[in-house]
Symmetry: C2
Subunit: 471 residues, 2 copies
């Protein structure tokens, strides 16, 4: 729960000692606080040839109320910003006084149609990265490769992934780097995602690639919402909500305005009741693995329906496969995967999960990369990815999105029990050189549950500080 | 080029010392040698409910001439094997004398339609893994998730990825674990791929997922070939063929029967000539980045055409982006990516690359995961992945496949120059606890270039010993 090394090297004495010994100094990440402004500082705008997303960016900049400066490659930005009535200027690379002054770097690569046109990407970040402050944000915007008209364009757009992930690995200082592919026609659906990746809410989300899809013809429009309370009037079910990451998810969704229905096993009832009382939520003590649970949950939610379902409940029973019992296999698959399938199907069949709803499953880096001693767990968490990919097209017509988060090393009671050397390796092997907090997972889920995230479905977003580990 | 730690801990004295100190002991990997039988030993067959690929497996077992034993979950295997006239028996888990006796474990998961049906996967590997010998092979067979009829089936099939990758991470002893998804109707196209993953040719390929697609209706049938000389009569172009990995690729393709046309820059002409003389190949000294190169290469190949194109030539110019010059950016993108595009397009437009041909690009783990100091290189190598994904559907009708290999840490003159501590980390952070050899990349390319690999296209296969690093 507590990263004492990080605390130490960020104390006055520890910082001196770390510097003299050449030890790594992980940054204290800036996280979202309701009593501090979410956005601020200067944002530098860059662009490749014929950028197509500057209008969307101007709306974003106007919405969050920050000041922007245009890099020389983004000459179109200044007149555009002026038309939007925005404060703007030009970025001067030569100005050595600019160091640390920028809060975010945004590059519009949407018009790049050939690998020979990629150089402005280098030019922009080459010039601006040293001026980006601690916990700064970098976002590259492109078009989904698979939606491109020509192989050359697809190739150039796909190349952005290698760039963004490298940038995330070398930026350090708590800086994140993410790539957002905005489909043609989805420009109006990108704001919630761009806000998330610019916000301190995404402190531990880096090296990720997210696609924003356009609405299908005739689909319902995004409901109106208040950016300060986007989940107001919405009902959210969270499984495993009594403690740890689940309690943090419940808490963040409640802070965004949702009424939370927390589910946990009967033996955790006391903790569940306490958590839900704090959030003015509703506690439901059910064993989600019980055969009767889906019907019971459906019955409990039937009258008022729900808008958001977060499948957070999960267990581990680690053993190498040679030593793993059939019971250890079955219980992990059942609770982490099959129970999710049964509950979703019950809620969907009865229409309890309303149109425009949101489903978020909790997967894991282990589900992506596999892990020693976790054949059962990794199978279940890879299955969660399959669940999300297979259900997204099915739910599209009802305006329901389904996505997964894949946490990396998150500081919890569970990870606190890992032996020190292994824990330290897990903690440091990522671009932030530290473990994440439960709230980092919770904030990522809140973004996926956001009414403005209608264009994001069928995706897996890692909350791992850009962990080195992958597949 | 030389892993002295691996050599040391595998010497009599070093092995004793490593044991007493508890040091890791990487296995000396068994690699393909023309003077040794490629296949041998017992193969254990397992299956989930209603397996659909046992017929294909029986053909494979008959083709490579090994003896099989059926696990209790694969009761259908014995009568089927008998009908094929194969030697077969039953696997007895209780037989402690079986330790180390198995050479391969194959599990047919194709009939699994729901996450609740995954247990036989655990049962089979739980019972058999300890009987698998050094450098043994494990293969899980399934159906491509995206081709499944229901979300439940898709989810269960997708879950196999987490299982296989975990198995690869815990098996150790030079054992590989790979997942092969065989599309309905592609059963007859799986043999070349299954042979590769069973063979010592795939010594350093683990944790990979490969899909075998069915032929489209009316497509030409696979040409006949000789398994011992599958590339006989075929012409293969290899760029960067003078030395290192490129020379190894040329050598393996020639050993499989191909006439190799090696391309390298004029300054490497002497080495190129020497390599090609050894292989009875043809040397072409061209700078592939020169604007006139595509036309020159096309002209040189025009008369006889080519069947296989391997884009191996590549350079690195590492620097963090703040220090990277525009020239360092441009040259890496141009040689590693844009040149490939130009050469392919020239060969394809003129029909010089014949129908049924093979294109293989060399990507990199950096292209998948990004890497510090390699924004240019990772961008180019991610672009190679985009190239493969975008061109595959376009080339399908001509029977041409296009794929990429993504090497991890391969022992070359380049990696020999990396400082020791970083080199050791790169070498050991994979399931084989060692770097790969150029021949491992070459053998993987030879499999993709194989006439029997018609069902494999648009894919990226890592040659990395299941490196921990990924995205």
């Amino acid at each position: 729960m507590n990263d004492s090394y990080l605390n130490f090297v960020n104390s006055p004495f520890g910082a001196r000692l770390a510097r003299s010994l050449g030890l790594p100094k992980p940054e204290v990440l800036r996280r979202y606080r309701a009593d501090q402004p979410e956005f601020g500082g200067l944002m530098a705008i860059g662009a490749g040839r014929e950028p197509q997303l500057l209008d969307a960016l101007a709306n974003l900049v106007a919405g969050i109320g920050v000041t922007s400066v245009a890099h020389e490659g983004a000459g179109l930005w200044v007149p555009l910003a002026n038309r939007h009535g925005l404060m703007t200027g030009r970025f001067e690379a030569a100005d050595s006084g600019s160091q640390g002054k920028l809060a975010a770097l945004l590059f519009d690569a949407s018009g790049i149609e050939d690998s020979t046109q990629l150089e402005p990407l280098h030019g922009f970040f080459h010039d601006t990265l040293r001026s980006l402050g601690r916990c700064g944000r970098t976002i590259v915007l492109g078009r989904p490769p698979e939606s491109c008209a020509t192989p050359r364009q697809w190739t150039a757009q796909r190349a952005l992934e290698g760039f963004t992930r490298s940038l995330g690995k070398e930026a350090r200082r708590g800086i994140t780097a993410n790539l957002v592919y905005v489909e043609q026609g989805a420009e109006g659906r990108a704001e919630a995602t761009l806000r998330f990746f610019l916000s301190p809410r995404s402190a531990y989300v880096s090296g990720q690639v997210v696609r924003i899809a356009a609405a299908s013809a005739g689909a319902e429009t995004t409901p109106t919402f208040d950016w300060r309370q986007p989940l107001a009037g919405r009902r959210a079910v969270v499984t495993g909500a009594a403690r740890g990451i689940g309690a943090s998810i419940a808490s963040v969704l409640a802070a965004e305005g949702a009424h939370v229905i927390g589910i946990d096993i009967p033996t955790a009832r006391e903790a569940l009741d306490a958590t839900m009382r704090q959030l003015n939520g509703t506690a439901l003590a059910f064993d989600i693995a019980a055969p009767e649970a889906p019907a019971q949950i459906a019955a409990a939610l039937d009258e008022q329906g729900v808008d958001i379902v977060v499948h957070n409940a999960g267990i581990t029973k680690d053993k190498t496969i040679v030593k793993m019992t059939e019971a250890a296999w079955q219980s992990v698959i059942d609770i982490n995967l099959s129970a999710q399938e049964r509950i979703d199907d019950a809620l969907l069949a009865a229409g309890i999960l309303r149109d425009g709803g949101r489903i978020v499953g909790v997967s894991s880096i282990s589900g992506i990369a596999g892990n020693l001693g976790q054949t059962n767990y990794a199978t279940s968490k890879a299955g969660v990815i399959g669940r999300v990919q297979s259900m997204a097209p099915q739910l599209h017509a009802r305006g329901i999105t389904i996505n997964a988060v894949a946490p990396g090393f998150i500081e919890t009671q569970m990870t606190a029990k890992i032996p020190l050397a292994i824990r330290e390796a897990g903690r440091r092997m990522n671009s932030m050189s530290q473990g994440g907090q439960p709230v980092d997972v919770a904030q990522t889920i809140a973004w996926l549950a956001h009414p403005g995230s209608a264009g994001v479905s069928g995706q897996v977003v890692r909350v791992c500080g850009q962990s080195l580990i992958g597949a």
